[in-house]
């Protein structure tokens, strides 16, 4: 039972929570829209790895860091002191009730909690395969000890592969790379490539190392050779100098989740990385879509005047941008829908856009955000919701509907 503090000193007791019930309307949408007829692949979803932190730490090899982390995790303040972390109010004072109520949600007996809870929302949304990412670790790139990022990344990835990805084929991941240490990141790609459920590799964007640094080239070459995607997952950092000017989480979230991807994309394109790795498949995750027309217009316009600074490019920056892939969430729904339609056209959404829910985070998107768009034909809807991902990740689902949809 939880006792939630509400406004003006009221309280509310809640006995139980079942995200399947909370998502009953999503399941209804899945039925009404006929999601049973085509695959839905979710390229960005999350779990809360601190719930399994004791298990994860068992996979840590550095004995001193392991003991430090185990002790930090043993009191009431789970994980505090180990994970860099964020001031931030994702749950809006509990208004997004799945945050405070998750702790009383029960999994199925005998099934790993992450597998059980993930399958529950996947079935409700009609999602067949989900790419699962951690949550607090999205800020691990800010850890001041590079060796701590490395140790936690190894432990998490080993745990994820053995305890979660082994158990459920519908859950896959693009594994976290400790990008502040290029050598260890390279070793990690080598170690985990081809393991069950490893669909690619992921860099959390909130960090302060430029993506065009020479030390990363061998990682890009290796991932290109493997033929799996490399993803940049957005995040926020309220301690970023410019973000400290803002007094509200909405402000930091609205700008922060775009900002780091803007920086990395600018470096990526203007340093000609796409020319050096023409077959490397790159996905930009969780920055929404509205930033892309801005980036294309801004970089193209300046490049035409200052191309001498960017000799690695053989075409306009915007043309590289529209060769890359994007996840849809949090998709901005403008008052004037012609802006969204123009954005879809501008980024070649019908071949480059991948549906993502970001569930269970506060601003998750249902498949209906794509399916109900009035300007898309049925084929485009199905491609964005799953068809493009099936090809990109070479998923072998043979037209089967894996989600339990009515």
């Amino acid at each position: 039972m939880v006792d939630l503090p509400l406004s003006n000193d009221r309280r509310m007791k809640v006995e139980e929570f079942d995200s399947g019930k909370m998502l009953a309307h999503a399941a209804r949408q899945a039925k009404d829209r006929g999601y049973k007829n085509f695959p839905i692949i979710d390229i960005d979803s999350h779990h809360y790895e601190l719930e399994s932190f004791d298990q994860i730490l068992e996979y840590m090899t550095d004995p001193v860091m392991k003991q430090l982390a185990q002790m930090a995790n043993s009191g009431n303040s789970k994980g505090v002191g180990v994970m860099p972390g964020g001031v931030g109010y994702q749950d809006m004072g509990g208004r997004v009730t799945r945050y405070p109520l998750r702790r009383i949600e029960k999994g199925e007996p005998g099934v790993h909690r992450d597998v059980s809870l993930t399958r529950r929302w996947m079935d409700a949304l009609g999602v067949d395969i989900a790419v699962l990412f951690p949550s607090p670790m999205l800020q691990l790139g800010l850890h001041p000890q590079v060796e701590a990022e490395v140790a936690l990344a190894w432990a998490y990835n080993r745990w994820l592969c053995e305890r979660v990805l082994q158990e459920e084929s519908r859950i896959v991941s693009m594994l976290y790379l400790p990008f502040n240490d290029p050598e260890e990141s390279y070793k990690m790609v080598k170690e985990f490539a081809g393991k069950k459920g490893v669909a690619g590799f992921m860099v959390t964007s909130v960090r302060y190392k430029p993506v065009h640094h020479n030390s990363y080239m061998k990682i890009y070459a290796l991932i290109e050779e493997l033929g799996v995607p490399l993803a940049f997952h957005a995040g926020y950092n309220w301690n970023e100098n410019s973000m400290t000017l803002m007094n509200k989480f909405i402000s930091v979230h609205a700008l922060g989740f775009v900002w780091y991807n803007m920086v990395h994309m600018t470096n990526w394109v203007l340093n000609g990385i796409p020319e050096r790795f023409p077959k490397l498949k790159v996905i930009w995750i969780e920055s929404g879509l509205a930033w892309l027309p801005f980036m294309i217009q801004r970089l193209d316009n300046e490049y035409l005047m200052r191309s001498s600074e960017c000799p690695g490019l053989k075409k306009l920056p915007g043309e590289y941008i529209t060769d890359m892939f994007y996840t849809s969430q949090p998709m901005e729904i403008p008052r004037d829908m012609s802006l969204l339609e123009a954005t879809f056209k501008c980024i070649k959404a019908e071949t480059q856009l991948l549906y993502s829910s970001d569930y269970p985070h506060w601003d998750f998107d249902l498949p209906s955000t794509i399916y109900d768009l009035p300007f898309l034909k049925e084929k485009a809807k199905r491609d964005i919701l799953g068809g493009t991902a099936v090809k990109l990740f070479k998923l072998n689902i043979n037209g089967q509907k894996l989600a339990k949809v009515a």
Binding site: S7, H25, V96, T97, W362, D363, F364
Partner: protein, 121 residues
């Protein structure tokens, strides 16, 4: 027009809510400060269960006579229910979406018959 039973008044305390279904109707009924209000339990955002979330007083800025910001408080009079999926807030007395009052949930008439509460669908 059908009347759907919601609850006996004695079993529906002030500050609480009930969800009732009738055919395709999924309705949230609120009991707030002696009044009953009923709305479609279908959020105007992505179709979430708008009536199933927290009931929260509206957050207000406190602005001084010199226009400086002095802090925040919860309203004494304005109360919203909040869609639990992403936080759209609805005025409990009108069903209007608070950040854009042009949007409004479908409302239902609440009928009291003796000690029993019904909604008309």
């Amino acid at each position: 027009m059908a009347e759907v039973f919601v609850a006996r008044v004695a079993e529906f305390p002030d500050g609480d809510r009930r969800i009732v279904e009738h055919g395709a109707h999924n309705i949230g009924v609120f009991h707030w400060q002696g009044q009953f209000y009923a709305y479609a339990n279908m959020c105007l955002h992505q179709g979430g269960p708008a009536c199933e979330g927290l009931i929260m007083h509206k957050v207000e800025d406190v602005i001084g006579p010199d226009k400086t910001w002095l802090g925040q408080k919860f309203s004494d009079t304005e109360v919203n229910f909040v869609c639990p999926w992403h936080g759209y807030e609805y005025d409990i007395k009108t069903g209007e979406c608070v950040p854009d009052r042009r949007l409004r949930l479908k409302s239902y008439k609440v009928v009291r018959r003796g000690e029993e509460i019904y909604v008309a669908v």
